[in-house]
Symmetry: D2
C-alpha cells in the first residue's frame, strides 16, 4: 500500500472539489484523476492532469474554430485515418501528466524516452524512503537461454530462496548505512548527494512525467510489448487502461494499428504474395535470414 | 474583424458551456478561452486549452501528492528561485494550446521554435482565403541605416503610396490567378498543392500551436523583444497578456529575470566592479569592442 | 545551372584539398562532398559534412573501444537487426550536413521535421535572388479527383499555357516590385524584412540542414514516398542516392524494412492468416473500411 | 587506470591510421581523438568523432558556398556576436561524439540533458564490471548547513573512515551477490535484467554520447558551474579542455558570455544604475529578497 493516510487525505481532498471549466473535459479521465493505481510492490501511477480528448485530435487536424466534431463516427474514421497514415501531429495535441513511483532501474529505461517533461524527486536535496522492489516468486526469472536480452523460467527451490535473501539483505544493509551516513546525530553527516550512491537500483524513486499522446503511444508500443522487461511493462499496461478511458477512439486505433499490428519488410511482403498465389515458400527460398523468418512465421502463423 | 458570424457562434457556444472538472483550474485563463484577440489586420490569437497554473509548477518542483501549495507567498518565492537559477523543468509542467492566424512570413519565423506542436491549415488539401497583410502607414518602415536587420523611419509621401499600391495590387492579382488556376469551371483545375506557390508571403495562414510554459517563455523573450520584427512582436505581446493572467507568479518572475533582465559578460561585470570603485572606464579601457560597449552602455545607462 | 563561376570555384577549391584525419572516413561519401546535385529548375543539394559510417553504428550499439567491426557481414546483420527491431539510437550516431536550395513552399513542408538543425538564408538581412520554381509541362498536374491531397493528369493545351503564363508573369512582376521597393536610388527604400512579403512561395531560398541518420530516414520514408508532393520528393530521392553511398548497409536495411515495407493492422494480419488458410476474404468480411481494404489490397496485391 | 592493454591497443591502432578527407578538419581536436582522459577513480572521457570547427559556425551563419572564412578575426567577431545575441543555430552545426565511463548516479543527472544521442552499455544484455566510485578523502563532504543541495567541509577521523568502510564494503558485497546470482555454475542463473537491481549507484556504466555544440555549451554551463555536484563537474571540466582546442573562438565567447557572465534581473539593473549615480543601495531599498541580494553582491562584489 504505497499511500500514507496523509497522502490519501490530500488525494481525497482534490477529488472532492470539482470546479467549472470551459475546456474540453474527458469524462472517462475525470474518474481516474489523482487516484493511485498500484504497480509492483511499492509503485503506482496517478493521473495528475490531462489536456484534450478524441475531439481535440480532430479539431486540430481540421484547424477548426469550434469543437471540431461533426459526429462521433466521423471523428473515429478520421482518427483511424490519421493513425494509419502516420500523421503524428494531431495526436500531439493531447497531453497527460502522471505521478509515478518506480524502481530506479525502471526509471533508467523510462527516461530514455526523451520527448517528455520530467521532475524527479531529488536525492541531492531530500532523503529517499526505505522502499525496495523485491520481485514476487513467479518473476524471479532465469536468464533466457535463447535470447541474451530476455528471461526464461522462474527460478525455484534453494536458488530462488538465495536470490531473495540477497536482494532483501543487501537492500536493508545498504539503506541502514545510508541512514547512518547522513545522520547528524553526534556527527557531521555525509552530504545527501554522496550518500545516495550507496543505494541499489531497486530502490524506489518518483517523478512527475508529462508527455503528449503521440509520444505516449510510442512509449506504450515499446514498453507494453511482450519483449519489454516485465517491471516496466506493468507500468505501461496500467497506463494503457487510463488512456483507453481518456481517448477511446485514439486508443482503439493505436491497438489495431500499432500494438496489434506488424511491419513487414519488402522481402516479407513478397513472400506473402507468393504464398497467396499458392507457392510453398521456405526460409531458404524466402531471402530472409533465419531470425527474420522465425519472426515472419510468428506474424502470419 | 477576422471572425465570420458562424465562427463567432461556434466560439460563443463553447464559452457558454462550463463543465465540472477535478483538474487545476486557472481562473484568470478561463475568461480568455476561445475568444479571438485581433492582431495585425486579419490575424488573431485564441487560447484553445491550457494545463496547469502557478501551483502546478510548485507541485511538480516538490514532486508532491497534494496541491503543492503551502501558501501563495511560498509559491511565489519558489517560482522566483526556480526562474533565477534556470530550473526549467517545473515550468515545462504547464502547457498552452493556441489557435493563431498569421501571415506566412511571420509563420516562417515562428516555426523555427522547434519544441512545440503544430497543426497548420493545409493548402495542399484546402483553399486559402483572400486575406493579405497590408501594413499600416506607420509600419511602412525604411531599411535601417545602422542595422542590416532592422527598420528605420516610416516611409512617406509618394514612396509610401507606391509601396502600398504594389503590395495590394500584387496580392490581388496573385490571388485572382490562384483562384483561376484551381477553378474547375470548364477546365481541369490545377492541383492545389501547386497553385499555392503563386501566393505571396503576406497571405494569412492559421494553425494550432501547443507549447509548454518554459518554451513559451523562451519564445516570448525573443519575439516580444524590442529587436524582434514588429509583425511577430505584436503576436508575442498579445500572448504575454493572457500568460500574465494564467500564471501571474511565473509571469512576474519572467518579466523581472528575463524580459527586463540582461546578461553581462565577464568583461562587463569587471567594468561594473571597476566603475563602482570609482574608476572612469571607457570603451578603450573596457576590453570590449565598440558594439559590445554600446550595448553595455544601454544596460547600465 | 544553379552555380555561378565564383561559387563553382569555391567548391573546386574545397574538393582539391584533402587533409589527414583520424576520424572514421566513408569513402563513398567523400566523392560527393561539396558537389551540387541539381534538383528542380534552380535547386540543389550539396553534402557539406558528415560524421560516421556503417561501422560507427555498430560501434555505438556495442559501446566498444575500438572500431566496433568484427566483420562486414556481422555488421550488416547487426544493422538489419537494429532496423527491424526499431532500435533508433545507434542510427542517431551518424550525422549529415547538407546545403539545400529549394522553393519556399517546399521549405515550409521540410521544416516540419523538427529534430534537425537549420540555418536559413535571411531575407530580413539579405536580398533574395530572382529565381522561381516554374514546373515543367509534365508536372503541371490537375487536382486529383479521387484524393483531396493529390494530383491527377497533367494539364494540357490552353489551360497549361495559361497557368505557366500566370506563374511566370506574377513571379516576375512581384520580384520587379520587390526590387523597386528596397531600392535606395532616390528614395529611402523599404525595409527588407517587409519587402520580402511580396514574394510568392515559388521563390527559392537556401539553408544548411543538419540531421542524424535516424531522423533522416524518417524524413526520407515520408518524403521519398509515392504520396509525397513531387517537388519535395525529388529532393528526398537525390538525398537517398548519397546516403546509399555513405552507409550502404544501413541504407539497404532502410530500403527493405521501411521504404519497401508496410505496416499491417491487427485486422489485416488476421485477414492474411485467414487467406493463407484458404478462406475467401472480402472487404465485407474483413472488418476493414473500404479505404483500409483498398490499401490492404495494394500491399498484398 | 581504466584501460586494459587490449583496449589501449585498439585505441593506438585507431590513432596510428590517418586517412585523407575533404571535410573540415580541426587540428586541435585531432590530437585528442580516441585518447581516454581519466576522470574520478575509474572513469574517463574519450572523443570518438567530431563535425565542424569555428569556420563551420560562420559558414552556416552566412549560408555560404565556400569555407565561409573571410579572416580569422572576422570569424571571431561574428562568433562573439552570435553568442552575445543568443543565436543558437550556427553553434548547432558542430557536433561531438564522446565515449564516457561514469558512475550511475552521475549518469542519472547527465541524461536529463535530453537534446543529445545516447547509446548506453546494456546491463540487460551484458555483465557490468566490478568498478565502483569511492570518493577520495577530500571529497567525502558533509551535508551543507546553509544549502540543502550542497556540500560542506570534508568529514574527518572516525566518521570519514566509517563512510569509506560502508561504501567499499557494500559495493563489494552487492557485487559478489550479483555475480553469484547470475552465475550459471550448478544453477540456472538469475536474468541479468533482474540481477542488476542489486548494484548500488556508484557502479560505473559507460555510453556513447553525441551532442551539438549549442547543447554541449548548455550542459557545460550548468555542469562545469561551481554549484554543480563535484562528481559531474569533473567530467564537464575535462570536456571543456577538449572543446577549447576544438573550437577556440566559440569556446572563448562561451567563457566570456556564459561561464564568466551573469544575468541581472530588472531589479538588479536598476540597483546598478542607482549605485553608479552614487546612491547607497541596501537590501532593504533594493526591492530584492535576501537571497537575491546575496547573489547580487556576489556578482558586483
Amino acid at each position: 500500500m504505497p499511500m500514507t493516510p496523509e497522502q490519501q487525505a490530500e488525494i481525497d481532498a482534490l477529488r472532492s472539489n470539482p470546479q467549472p471549466t470551459l475546456r474540453a473535459v474527458a469524462e472517462g479521465m475525470e474518474k481516474h484523476l489523482y487516484t493511485a493505481y498500484d504497480v509492483l510492490d511499492h509503485g503506482f501511477i496517478r493521473v495528475i492532469d490531462y489536456m484534450g480528448d478524441d475531439a481535440a485530435i480532430c479539431q486540430a487536424a481540421r484547424v477548426s474554430y469550434g469543437k471540431g466534431t461533426k459526429s462521433v463516427q466521423n471523428d473515429e474514421g478520421l482518427i483511424r485515418y490519421l493513425m494509419r497514415h502516420w500523421h503524428s501531429t494531431p495526436f500531439e495535441m493531447c497531453e497527460i501528466k502522471l505521478h509515478v513511483k518506480l524502481p530506479v532501474f525502471v526509471a533508467r529505461q523510462w527516461i530514455r524516452h526523451r520527448t517528455a517533461n520530467v521532475n524527479e524527486y531529488s536525492a541531492r536535496y531530500s532523503i529517499l524512503d526505505r522502499e525496495f522492489y523485491i520481485p514476487q516468486a513467479e518473476q524471479l526469472a532465469a536468464q533466457s537461454v535463447i535470447n541474451n536480452q530476455g528471461r526464461g523460467e522462474a527460478l525455484t527451490g534453494e536458488e530462488a530462496a538465495r536470490v531473495l535473501e540477497y536482494l532483501k539483505g543487501d537492500a536493508a544493509r545498504c539503506y541502514d548505512h545510508y541512514e547512518e551516513m547522513i545522520s547528524q546525530d553526534d556527527q557531521q553527516g555525509l552530504a545527501r548527494e554522496l550518500a545516495r550512491m550507496n543505494l541499489p537500483a531497486n530502490i524506489y524513486t518518483q517523478w512527475y512525467w508529462k508527455v503528449d499522446l503521440h509520444n505516449l503511444f510510442h512509449f506504450l508500443r515499446l514498453r507494453a510489448d511482450a519483449h519489454a522487461q516485465y517491471e516496466i511493462r506493468v507500468y505501461a499496461e496500467e497506463i494503457c487502461k487510463v488512456v483507453a478511458d481518456w481517448v477511446p477512439a485514439a486508443y482503439g486505433a493505436f491497438e489495431d494499428y500499432r500494438m496489434g499490428g506488424a511491419t513487414l519488410s519488402s522481402k516479407a511482403i513478397d513472400c506473402v504474395r507468393r504464398m497467396l498465389k499458392g507457392e510453398e515458400v521456405t526460409q531458404e527460398t524466402s531471402g530472409m535470414s533465419k531470425g527474420e523468418w522465425r519472426e515472419f512465421e510468428g506474424i502470419i502463423g
